[in-house]
Structures are given as structure tokens and as C-alpha cells.
């Protein structure tokens, strides 16, 4: 069995709202093997970003992690006090966000911001820290690192800012890097550069948990994929298996929607309806409202995440029969 860098079991996040309690993350279990890129894919509001925040211990009020465990390299971190967790963040586990502008301090030179991360987590001197920053800048292919070191964030393009953030996240050689929609705000040509950068980081020993709504991004770099819908994992499989043999009707619908867009035709394939409001989830399968193969059973009981073949799990009653369309 391969070594797990991240092992999340039964993670649940609750939000108290004026109109009731919702669970944006509901009993999510996932693992990231060492030296791999694992993807979480889903649409907005499906809980993929909240899962990442929960793993980092960054769920904000009024949200609360109400259950589950998070093991980082075999060590339980979800129960650690905030002080301990803060030490882990940036050194053993780090995260980059969608918007590279708001994640950087606008009045501080970018080099110093990265340097700060080094000084915080190691006991090297300023000179050593600066050397490390320049080294990581070169590694993430920031052109003219010495000149960029003294730039302010607004002087850099979106792609460069994202590189700086990746540098900041990777400078302490974390075991796990969580990338939350790292390319969504970027142009396609820059996106391609950032994705190949993530691959190189993986090859350098940093495992990556990549969160994206973009199936193309997931297909390009991930080794294993989790599909989320309305707070739950509905399907998980190796990337090739998932794209060749999607089992869950939601996954299939997504794939067909994307494929029809590429192929054209008279009308595009769609998934009817809208993502359900988490306050009013159906009692059974949360996709039942939009599912063409929905049976009466689906509305009453929640299907379990069941293995259909080694490494491929699906949360659908019909998956085993191959009957879901």
C-alpha cells in the first residue's frame, strides 16, 4: 500500500444560519498518496473549497468542523490547538488561493513576504532566507528574480503573482500543497504554465491537492479525482478510469456537458435544474432531483459510497447495475 500524506476521514463542517443548519461538507473521506496530485472537482457551492479550508483548519465563523479526523503524514492534526496548527501551516501543509491579488499584502515587497514565511518556520538568518527566496523564485520560473524580489504586488501580472504565492507556499518544502482554483482567475496560456509548474513541484516531492471546477485542468494534471456534489463525495476514481468510465449520473452529465460544448451540434447537453439549496436537500440522494434515472428509492435513502471496481467508488444505487444514464 502506498504511503498517505493526507488521510481525511468523515470530515463534516456545519454552518449555523438564521434558517437552519447546513452541512457544506458532509462526511468527506479522502486520501492523498505521497508524490501525487489529487483533484477535487465540483461546481460552486459543492463544498470543495470548504473541504480544503477544513483540512487547513481555516473554517471561519459561523462554520464549524463538527466531525472527522485529518491525518497529515500519519499524525492527527484536526484536534491540535490553534498554536500548533499555525506552526504546521506554511511549513508542512500550505495553501494557495484563486485570487492572487487579495492574498498578497499590497504594501509589502513580494520578496519580503516570501522571506517572512521562511523566517517564521526556520531559524535561518535574513541573508540565508533571502537566498532561499531567490532560489524558490528561480524554481517557480519567475524571470529576473532579483528584480522581482523588490516589486510590490500591483507591479506584477496575475500569472506572476500566482507564481509568487506558489513560491510562498512551497518555500518551506511542505509535505502537502492545497491549491484552491489556482488558475481560475488566469488566462488560458498562463494557466498552462501554472499547471506545468504544479507538476514539477509534485516531481520535486510536494504532494498536491488540487481543487477545480474545470474538468480540463483536472484531466491534465491529476492522478486521482474526487467528485463532489452538494457537500458529499459522489464518485472517486483514478483519473483515467473516471474519464473513461464515469458511473455517477452527475459525473456523466458534467462530462457530457463539456464534451458537447467541444463537439458542437444542434443543442448542448445540459443537466436540468439547478444545484439544490443546502438548506433544502432531498432526504435521499442529493442528485435525485436532477437525475434522469431517479427511482423512488433514490429519493428516500442516501446511497453509500460503494466500490464498483478497485479504486473506483460511486454513490449511486444504480452504479452497480450499470443502469444509470
Amino acid at each position: 500500500m502506498e504511503e498517505k500524506i493526507l488521510d481525511v476521514r468523515g470530515l463534516t463542517v456545519c454552518f449555523q444560519t438564521a434558517k437552519g443548519t447546513i452541512r457544506p461538507v458532509d462526511d468527506v473521506s479522502l486520501t492523498v498518496p505521497r508524490g501525487s496530485i489529487v483533484g477535487i472537482v465540483g461546481e460552486s457551492g459543492c463544498g470543495k473549497s470548504m473541504t480544503a479550508r477544513a483540512v487547513m483548519g481555516l473554517v471561519r465563523y459561523p462554520g464549524k468542523v463538527t466531525g472527522g479526523s485529518v491525518l497529515l503524514d500519519g499524525r492527527e492534526i484536526s484536534a491540535l490547538p490553534e498554536r500548533e496548527r499555525r506552526k504546521l501551516r506554511g511549513s508542512e501543509i500550505s495553501m494557495i488561493f484563486q485570487e492572487p491579488m487579495t492574498s498578497l499584502n499590497p504594501v509589502m515587497r513580494v520578496g519580503r513576504q516570501v522571506e517572512e514565511a521562511v523566517l517564521l518556520h526556520t531559524d535561518c538568518t535574513r541573508e540565508e532566507a533571502k537566498a532561499r527566496v531567490l532560489e524558490i523564485f528561480r524554481e517557480v520560473e519567475i524571470p529576473e528574480p532579483e528584480a522581482r524580489y523588490d516589486c510590490y504586488p500591483h507591479q506584477l501580472s496575475g500569472g506572476l503573482r500566482q507564481r509568487v504565492l506558489i513560491a510562498m507556499a512551497a518555500v518551506c518544502r511542505p509535505k502537502l500543497l492545497i491549491a484552491d482554483e489556482p488558475t481560475t482567475a488566469l488566462d488560458v496560456t498562463v494557466e498552462a504554465q501554472i499547471l506545468s509548474l504544479l507538476e514539477r513541484l509534485r516531481d520535486a516531492g510536494v504532494s498536491v491537492l488540487l481543487i477545480s471546477h474545470n474538468l480540463g485542468v483536472i484531466a491534465r494534471v491529476c492522478d486521482y479525482v474526487f467528485v463532489m456534489y452538494a457537500g458529499r463525495i459522489v464518485e472517486q476514481a483514478g483519473t483515467e478510469a473516471l474519464f473513461e468510465r464515469p458511473r455517477h449520473p452527475y459525473t456523466r452529465g458534467l462530462f457530457r456537458a463539456v464534451a458537447s460544448l467541444r463537439e458542437g451540434g444542434d443543442a448542448l447537453e445540459t443537466i436540468p435544474g439547478v444545484v439544490p439549496n443546502l438548506l433544502h436537500l432531498p432526504a435521499g440522494c442529493s442528485f435525485s432531483l436532477r437525475c434522469a434515472s431517479c427511482r423512488s428509492d433514490c429519493e428516500r435513502r442516501l446511497p453509500a459510497l460503494a466500490e464498483t471496481e478497485p479504486g473506483h467508488k460511486v454513490r449511486c444505487f444504480l452504479a452497480g447495475e450499470g443502469g444509470a444514464r
Partner: protein, 323 residues
């Protein structure tokens, strides 16, 4: 060929920038749009596509050049002369969250154009027309008195579309109408736009940064880089045989949702996009272009015709053979 509805002649728009510089958002763009066609405008952020879209419907005036609507120069008109044309030239916004006044009900929002142009005689007629528009964009009539925040992104975008088509415009600019939406909803909106185009005889200028989105909807595609046209031609031709190196890179960069294509060696654009305040001499793409020669630095390429596709590249022939 059918008649030309809208034409841009040598449109240029400059914005003042810090340090006395001028940002060339759009430089000398000429193009025409036929009646009842969809022309897509594709390019990365900062290439001037949104600016060009707004110039076409005169919510912005060009620094130089002119826009002709049904043969008349819209640019030269006075405000008062232009007023009746205002309702012919409409816009669908990118962000359905910001483009609807949060304090207005759906009825108020959709009736605003009807009332502005006095298209209905009574309150009842307005309500009936709003209901009809709601049906046309696939929303239930019961939504009449709800507020925008009660809707999902896709539903809001439908409201925005209902507003845009309410006054029966001739031409609509769609400024990235689906890029803020989820994949499963995006296709619903694209289907709706195509259906409306057919049923109401609309003409679209469809702006997008995503090449994969425009293929389905558009008759012709136009690729922009840094305020200039690179390539313009029938959609399938441009997708199958991209002649401008930039078009090729754009097409290559779109991640394919198929892991078996992963091993394929990709051409990545190197370096950073040049600044629109200080564009390179000659061809604006040359600093990132692997095909660039000395000629590209000295001489700005003009649009040349290649069997219906126009390309602004000195080396279009060799790009084609090397592919």
C-alpha cells in the same frame, strides 16, 4: 452574403494611464457583422475585447474611427439623434450578480426597458409582457415579485437576458455571459442564446476569453491580441486550421478533459504578456512568438485573406505548414 448590420472602421480607443502614458485598448480595428449572425470575439484579459464591445454599442466613444449601424455612422451622431437607436444596441453582462440592481424586483428589472421606451400602454400590458419575457428565457412567471438575491447565477443571467431582449433590439453584445457560471448551467444559457437568436432574428457579438465556449454558438470567430485583430474567419475553419500563431497557442492551451491526451507535448507560451501601455513595435505578438523574424519587429502585419479567413501575420504560410 447577407446584409451588413454593424461595421467598425479603424476603431481606436486609448485610455490615459499613469505617467502620461496612453493605454491602447483597441487600435485600428475594422470589422463587420452580418445580420442574424454571431461573431465571437476571443482573447485574453486586457486584449481590449470588452472595450471593443462597448464601442460597438456606443456606451463608450472611440478616440478615432467610427461605427456604422445599418450604414449610418453612430459615432458622429448627437446624443439626441442617437437616442432612438439606443434600444437597438443592447448588452448582456458577464456578472449576473453585479448587473442587477439588488433593490428591484424581477418585474421592475424587466419592465425598466419597456417603461423607458413606453412600449406598453398600461400596467397590465407591462406585466403581461414581462411574463411573456420570463417564459421566453425559461423562468416561471411566479418569479415576478422576487428579488435578484433569491436566484442562482444561471437564473440571474436569464433575467439579464430578458432585460436585454425586452425592447426588441437588433444587436446584442454578450460580454462573457457564461464565464461566471457553472459548467452545467453554462450550457443551458448558451442553448437559450442560440434559440433566442433564431426565434427573434438577433445578431450577437459574443465576447469570451474561452475558445471552447464560443465554438458552438458562433458563425465566425475573431481573435484579438493587445488591441489588434489577429485572425478572423468562419468558426470551423479557424478551429481546424488556425493560421495565426497566437490562435494556435490559445487553442493548445485550453485544457482538454481527456487524460489520455496528457502525454502530448504541449507548446507553452513563454514569458509574460507585453503591457498595452507600451506595446512592442511591429507585430504586437512577436515578443512571445516562436516564429518571429526581423520583419515582424519592423513592419506591422496587415490582415491578409486566406480563403475566407483573414490573418494578420507575416508568417501565416509557414505557421500553417509547420503545424
Amino acid at each position: 452574403m447577407s446584409e451588413i448590420l454593424l461595421e467598425a472602421r479603424e476603431l481606436t480607443k486609448e485610455f490615459p494611464a499613469a505617467g502620461g502614458k496612453r493605454v491602447h485598448a483597441v487600435s485600428g480595428v475594422s470589422l463587420h457583422i452580418y445580420r442574424n449572425e454571431t461573431l465571437s470575439l476571443v482573447g485574453e484579459s486586457g486584449c481590449g475585447k470588452s472595450t471593443l464591445g462597448r464601442l460597438m454599442i456606443r456606451t463608450m466613444q472611440p478616440t478615432s474611427g467610427e461605427v456604422l449601424f445599418r450604414g449610418q455612422s453612430v459615432t458622429a451622431m448627437r446624443e439626441r439623434e442617437f437616442k432612438p437607436l439606443r434600444k437597438e444596441l443592447q448588452l448582456i453582462f458577464q456578472d449576473p450578480y453585479a448587473s442587477l440592481d439588488p433593490r428591484m424586483t424581477v418585474r421592475d428589472l424587466i419592465s425598466e426597458p419597456l417603461e423607458t421606451w413606453r412600449l406598453c400602454e398600461s400596467r397590465e400590458a407591462v406585466t403581461a409582457r414581462v411574463q411573456e419575457l420570463l417564459r421566453a428565457v425559461g423562468l416561471p412567471e411566479e418569479f415576478l415579485y422576487r428579488y435578484p438575491h433569491q436566484f442562482s447565477g444561471g437564473q440571474r443571467q436569464r433575467i439579464g437576458i430578458a432585460r436585454a431582449i425586452a425592447a426588441n433590439p437588433a444587436f446584442i453584445v454578450c460580454d462573457e455571459p457564461v464565464s461566471a457560471l457553472d459548467v452545467s448551467v453554462q450550457n443551458q444559457i448558451l442553448n437559450l442564446l442560440k434559440e433566442l437568436k433564431a426565434s427573434r432574428g438577433l445578431t450577437f457579438l459574443f465576447i469570451s476569453h474561452d475558445l471552447s465556449v464560443v465554438r458552438y454558438l458562433s458563425d465566425r470567430v475573431c481573435v484579438m491580441f493587445l488591441g489588434k485583430l489577429c485572425e478572423i474567419g468562419p468558426t470551423e475553419e479557424v478551429y481546424r486550421h488556425p493560421r495565426h500563431p497566437y490562435t494556435r497557442f490559445l487553442l493548445d492551451a485550453v485544457p482538454v478533459p481527456n487524460p489520455s491526451q496528457r502525454g502530448k507535448e504541449r507548446r507553452l507560451l513563454k514569458g509574460e504578456p507585453p503591457s498595452p501601455a507600451d506595446p512592442p513595435s511591429g507585430c504586437r505578438f512577436r515578443t512571445r512568438c516562436p516564429f518571429a523574424t526581423e520583419r515582424c519587429a519592423g513592419e506591422e502585419p496587415a490582415l491578409r485573406d486566406f480563403g475566407g479567413v483573414q490573418v494578420a501575420c507575416h508568417r501565416a504560410e509557414s505557421v500553417q505548414t509547420e503545424a
